[in-house]
Amino acid sequence: MEKMPVHDEVAQAIQPAILTGSEILWATLVGEGVTEVFGYPGGAILPAYDALRKFPIRHILVRHEQGAAHMADGYARASGKVGVAIATSGPGATNLVTGIATAMMDSIPIVCITGQVSSKVLGTDAFQEIDITGITLPVTKHNFLVSRAEDIAPAIRAAFQIAQSGRPGPVLVDITKDAQQARADFDFAAAQPRPYTPHPMLHCTDHKLHHAAELIRKAERPVILAGHGILQSRAGEQVRSLAERMQIPVGLTLLGLGAFPASHPLSMGMMGMHGESWVNHAIQNADLLIACGMRFDDRVIGTPATYAPNAKKIHIEIDPAEINKNIPVDVALVGDLREVLEQLLPLLPGRDGSAWLRSIEDSKGSAAVRDIRNLPDSGHLYAAHVMHDLWRITEGRAIVATDVGQHQMWEAQYYHHDHPRTLITSGGLGTMGFALPAGIGAKVACPDREVWVIAGDGGFQMTASELATIAQEKLKVNIAIINNGYLGMVRQWQEFFYERNYESTPLVSPDFVKLADAHGIAGAAVSTRAELASVVERARQHNGPFLINFLVEQEDSVYPMIPVGSALHEMIRRPDHNPLVETPQDF
């Protein structure tokens, strides 16, 4: 039989009919535009799985439900669409929790569907029963317990609306087994949720806009703080207009990377704990901060009391609960970033910012000289080399999913993101094991894009079982393991703050190339910079997934670093000579 065109399949799936709850579930997902889901079957969700084959949805079978949630997350981050994860009751549902919390902290729209025991036995401690709506209450934007077939479509449709609207976030829908089995009238259109109402405390009056514009016009040393909200509200162009017209330098948060092009002359790079020294100095010396879709996270501000002491602060933010949470601000423009900027831009005529830009440029001087990029190629393999060369070879166009720790910071420092949604990383929760499944999700969302998973030897092992998912689904995902034999970031803290007491951080790992091979995935190890480029090229050309085990300098640290409790300008800088990692021939 000839395959139906997609829109016909969708139209057919959402025809009003009397269906089982399971069929209603899939039909509603199809109606919401879902084409892929990540999941793992089990008893309480089995009726839903039984009905899956009737619907035009691809199911990616994961190896652990945490992977399903991260994949849905990576899918959402890469595409801007809602990611969907599905799991059974009990342990299936609890395994999702880390992934849901990760999405919550980074405001990622995902919908998680869990099976639940039959409504007749709810609350009886039935086999694989768990109160997942109770457990996920603080880590979801909202959740639903559905125990009737007729409630499934409205709940799923509301979940999609909630996940995407305002400040996005994860929503969980828990559906009892009997609701999946019962039959009910299905009417996709009638199940539409009530119209979305913006948060009632959005507040951006003309008076406030004029006040903000006046502060921007009068500022001598302004800095734009570019955050994740730029991606969420698709405001990249407006932020760029603001920066260019008023000649304001831009510092980025980790999750903001890609929201403003790294190669833009006004881009300073990443701010915060491992941000570039000149960015943090610029912020500390600024007389005006314009925060665009960022939340003054503690990793960005150092210590609240000493943060940008002489700067007025304008906060453009969609979530009123973020205003004055960590840093008191002078003007809060509470609303959608793009809409606010579109109102603000006409009030800004232009400005000469050359003196301030020149002084920032001057402050880069010594920092750049000590940059690890300038180390000779003949020396050891540094993680920074890997990031820099990956960036160069992929021309900065790959989607990069990173894990958490040193490699994540090096990636942020040396892989320059010019394009939105090219960095997929767990910022708020800092979830190790995120990279591999999130990269899989990104690849499923964007099959034509080059995807690199970059993970440390520690984090990779937390979700390494998803290698099997890559193999089964035949996904062309490239994997770079930054292997330094330690839980590197923890080791770095032990080096700096615990007198090099490397307690429980040295790591014995499997041979990752053999592990890949056991999954039918090609791989190679790299221990010198000389081999780096050719192996990366081999991986890119290889018809199928490829894993590279980069054996990097073991006791290298991420610089600069702001110790917890210090001010933003009190950075630990890369020492001129680090006896832990550099041998004389490096010079």
Partner: protein, 184 residues
Amino acid sequence: MLHTFVAYVEDKPGVLTRVASLFRRLNINIISLTVGRSERAGYSRMTIVADASDQAGHRIRASLYKLEDVAEVDDISGVSAVTRELALIKVAANAESRSGVFELAEVFRARIVDLAPESLMIEITGVESKIEGLIQVLNERENRVLEVCRSGKMTMRRGHHTSRVLRAMGVTDIPDGIEPVDPD
């Protein structure tokens, strides 16, 4: 300081948990919480009194609004409002000692709503200090208080100040600044 919020929430399972969980997450103690049906079908009205820093009011209100089941939140700390609490107080009293309690009830404008051979029950409404005053005086009468049940505070703004009330009255041109906004 004590913050008082009035919230209209959807009348369905789990809503109370969501509201309570928000305060728990912020490590804020709820001093008093009353919930009951409201004039709006399908919505309950909550009066929440919580002890939090002076600056916390804005964030709590904004966070309450982020809950899907919360329709409206009014921060009425420091505004002109009527606040009442209801208490039922059971006091040990026999035929000989009743008259003294009757007199006290009279002074406090409380009512005797149950009379048994060894005890009686007082119903009192009023502000917190009035109720506490009665309990204190009763306690001074040799531990005569057996049981106290207090409703927690119920509060309503004086006049018709909120935009919702104005809308309900048919006013379409609602002036700016009626409701609390962010404090910059």
